[in-house]
Each structure stands twice: as C-alpha cells, then as structure tokens.
C-alpha cells in the first residue's frame, strides 16, 4: 500500500518548513561565527581609513560612493554605467565607445 498524496504533501511541507528554520539557525550561527571575519575587515577599515565598499570599481563615483562629487558622469571610465536615471537613456559619447584602446594612451591621465 503506498502513501496518500496528502501525507506526501504534508510531509514535504513539514520538511521544507524545517529547512526554512534551518536557514535561520544556519544564518544565526554564521553571523555569530563571522565575528572575527568582521573584526578583521573593521580593523582594516580603521587602519587604512577606508570609507567605501570595493564592490563597483568601474568609476570613481561608484567606487567611492560616499566621497564622490555630486556630478561626475562619465569621468572615470568611458563606458561606466550611469547612476543617474538619464544615463539609461543616453549613450556615452560616440567618441568614447569602443575606442578606449586608441584613446587611452593619451587620456590616461590619473585623476
């Protein structure tokens, strides 16, 4: 005799709920254990006096979000994605598109 469909479903449901609970326990546990990792990073931030996450390195206003001037469109990387809504409508200037190899030797002046 095989199992009723409802039993199969309810068992899977309970199992999935347990897994969800496990994610919370796992998350909690990992957060607790992340202490030294976090401290390490925090210490680096303190010692090097860092201000930003190095998540988006394509342009200076994305790399140092909190330090950027307010209006620095297209100043760092010729194809940098825009963070102003208008940037999704306007392309970078034709001059810069795909020609960075040619342009860069002349324009590679550091900021």
């Amino acid at each position: 005799m095989h199992m009723r469909k409802s039993d199969l479903f309810l068992i899977s449901l309970v199992f999935a709920c347990i897994l969800v609970a496990v994610t919370f326990v796992d998350a909690h546990w990992r957060v607790l254990n992340a202490g030294s990792h976090l401290d390490g990073m925090a210490q680096m931030v303190r010692q090097l006096e860092l201000t930003d996450l190095s998540l988006f390195t394509e342009a200076r206003y994305t790399r140092h979000l909190s330090q950027a001037d307010y209006h620095t469109a297209f100043q760092d990387h010729p194809l940098a994605i825009e963070h102003f809504p208008s940037g999704s409508l306007i392309h970078p200037p034709q001059l810069l598109q795909g020609t960075d190899e040619v342009i860069f030797p002349e324009t590679a002046l550091p900021d």
Binding site: S6, L50, L55, F56, T57, E58, L65, Q67
Partner: protein
C-alpha cells in the same frame, strides 16, 4: 478537532489529484512562480545582508573627512588647511590622507592607490588587494609595472597581499609609500587628497562640521553618518533596476496566474456541481479550492526562498554578479554574511502566498453556491 484534520487531509488528497491531472501546466506554473520568488528573495536577502555588513564594517570609518571643492569638483587640499582648522574642541586628531585612482590599461580596471598610515613601505614596494592579485595573476614577490602621470614606467614589487576575506573593502587597493605616491601622480609636497578628523564624541560631529564649513568655506565635510546612510540606501537603486527588469516578467506571471486561478472553466464548474450533488457542502468546495491555491503558492514560496538562500549565502549570489559588477573588471569575491530579516521574509511570504490563494478562492464562491441540481441535466 481530529475530524477537522482528517477532513483537510481528504480535501488535500482531492486537490492534489485534481492538480496532477493537468500536471504539465501546473508544474510549469509552479516553476515560474518559484523562479519569481527565487529572484525576489535573492535580491532581498543579498541587499539586506550586504547593507548590514557594510553598516558593521563602515562604522569604523573616519568620523569626518574634509574635501576641498573647486568649481564643484573634488580637488587636492593644501596641508596648510590643517593649521587653518587650528584647535577645534572635540577633534582628537587630524591629518592628510593620500589616495587616488589608477586605470590599468593592461586589464582595463580601475585601482585605488592609497598611502597607508599603519605600515611603512620602501621604494618600489607595494601591497595589493586580493582582487588585483587574482585578476593580474600576481603573487608575493612579483613585479607590477605602471606608467605614471608623466609617462615614466614604475616597477613595483608586491610585498604582501591583503587578507582575502576582507575583499569586500579592499579588493582593488594598492598600498604604497607617500614618496612614491607623490612621485607617481605628480602631487606636490604639502597637498593631500583630503583630510581626516577623528572625533571622540559623535554627538559633537554636527557642531564640528558647522565650524569647519565656516572656517573653510571651500570645503565639504563628509560625516561618517553620511557614509552609513549612503550604504543604507545605495542598493535601493540597483535593486530598483533589478525589480524594473523583473516587473515585466512579474506582470506577465500575474496575468497568467490570475487567469489560471480565477478563470473557471466549464469543466471545473461542472465538477463543482458534481461534488455538491454527491454531498459536498459549499464550504467544502471552497476549502478544497483554498488548498489548491495554498499548495501552489506555499510550495513556490518555500522552494524559492530555500533556493535563494543557497544562492546568496552559499553560491556568493553568483547570478547577480553581472548585474552588480556593471562595467567593472575587478569584482570582489566574497560570501555575504547571512543577516536575515525575519520580518522581510514574512513580508515576502505574505505577498507571494496570500494574493494567489485569494485569487483562487474568490471566483469559486459564485460557482460553489449554485444549485446542485444543474448536474442532473
């Protein structure tokens, strides 16, 4: 009470049999539904975790950073400004900071060059972030050559690589000595990128900032609070992009699901008539339909959430990398620390399970109260 459970089990039996009849369609529905929950949950978990991590880590940032602005742009600040500030109550320490960007044409990536205050490096010595080491394929002892502002070639020996578990803040860093930094970028002695002020009591920050803007009108103080706030809201924009991209898909799904859930086919109507004629009450029919909506939506929620958890916290949110990376070449490798907001998960639960279940029940109401004798014809 016992008979209540027995009855629900029977109703679930029926609902599942009934769902399995159109198994292709219903499994397809479940998959699309799961995928949507998965995407939403991934975005939610990822941004929440990152925001929390940023909050914890950046709490150690300098309390005040003073930038000089010229014509609306950030410019080098003269060291003399340190004297101009003079004695401000509450400021424990003040000094110039040197950092800048360098575009490496070899891999088309932007680096952040920085002069560390906690270690002294000699001539031709650098310390690089793990992201750079990985992308350029260099290890300790290797040489990196860059062309300076005045076209001289500088060769640096990698003395050390920054701890890889702190990539989130350091993956693109290059540390070098002050002398080398000035030489490389051509920054004259006595100028800094910005100034750092350390303040003992955070309550005094506002007044100190006000004093600074009065004393030095061409500067902009950036407070740690602002940094924290920036990172509190930063992800909302990119999260917004993801949501906008998904909006079309979600809308299509909503229309499909609504049609599926709310449109009763003639066959379903007839079935309801049969069930009523053989002794099911209106309430039984409605409960059965509740289970139908609930089974699909709870399964989609649980599967979607669990997959999202694995994706974000065990697979480094790999699917988002390309979205978050944008044009950047350097992307830090990091595993977000799983900060989860129970309330946020509950909200997701509510918005995925509740509307669908209701959409299944409502149209049934009318069909379920029709007279059972219609099946006699």
């Amino acid at each position: 009470m016992k008979s209540f459970f027995l009855k629900q089990r029977y109703l679930i039996d029926f609902t599942l049999s009934s769902l399995l009849r159109r198994s292709g369609k219903n499994i397809g529905l479940l998959l699309v539904y799961t995928l949507i929950v998965f995407m939403l949950a991934s975005v939610m978990l990822f941004t929440h975790a990152l925001r929390n991590e940023a909050g914890h880590v950046l709490a150690e940032s300098p309390e005040i950073i003073l930038q000089r602005m010229i014509a609306g742009r950030h410019d080098l600040i003269p060291g003399g400004y340190l004297e101009k500030i003079g004695q401000v109550r509450g400021v424990m320490e003040k000094h110039g900071r040197l950092w800048g960007y360098f575009f490496d044409p070899a891999i088309k990536a932007n680096y952040t060059l920085m002069v560390p205050r906690d270690r002294s490096l000699g001539e031709g010595e650098i310390v690089v972030g793990a992201g750079i080491a990985r992308t350029r394929g260099v290890g300790i002892g290797d040489i990196l050559s860059f062309r300076s502002a005045d076209s001289r070639t500088f060769s640096f020996r990698v003395m050390d690589i920054l701890q890889s578990d702190s990539e989130l803040v350091s993956s693109d860093l290059i540390l070098l000595s002050e002398a080398q930094f000035r030489d490389f970028f051509g920054i004259p002695e006595g100028f800094y990128t910005d100034l750092v002020l350390r303040v003992r009591n955070p309550k005094e920050l506002r007044t100190i900032a006000e004093k600074l803007t009065l004393k030095l009108p061409d500067t902009r103080p950036i407070l740690r609070d602002e940094i924290m706030r920036t990172y509190d809201s930063i992800f909302s924009w990119r999260q917004g992009i993801v949501f906008i991209l998904m909006a079309g898909a979600i809308l299509a799904f909503v229309i499909f699901a609504w049609d599926k859930a709310s449109g009763l086919s003639a066959e379903e109507r007839k079935e309801i008539g049969i069930l009523k004629a053989i002794g099911w009450e209106t309430a039984d029919v409605i409960r059965m339909k509740f289970w139908e909506g609930f089974i699909i939506s709870i399964s989609a929620f649980l599967l979607g959430y669990l997959l999202a958890y694995l994706h974000v916290f065990y697979a480094s949110a790999g699917l988002f990398e390309s979205v978050l990376k944008g044009w950047a070449v350097l992307y830090p490798e990091f595993q977000p620390i799983p900060y989860i907001d129970g309330l946020q998960v509950a909200t997701l639960f509510f918005f995925t399970v509740f509307p669908y279940t209701v959409a299944t029940i409502i149209p049934i109401w009318r069909a379920a109260i029709t007279d059972p004798d219609t099946v006699m014809r």
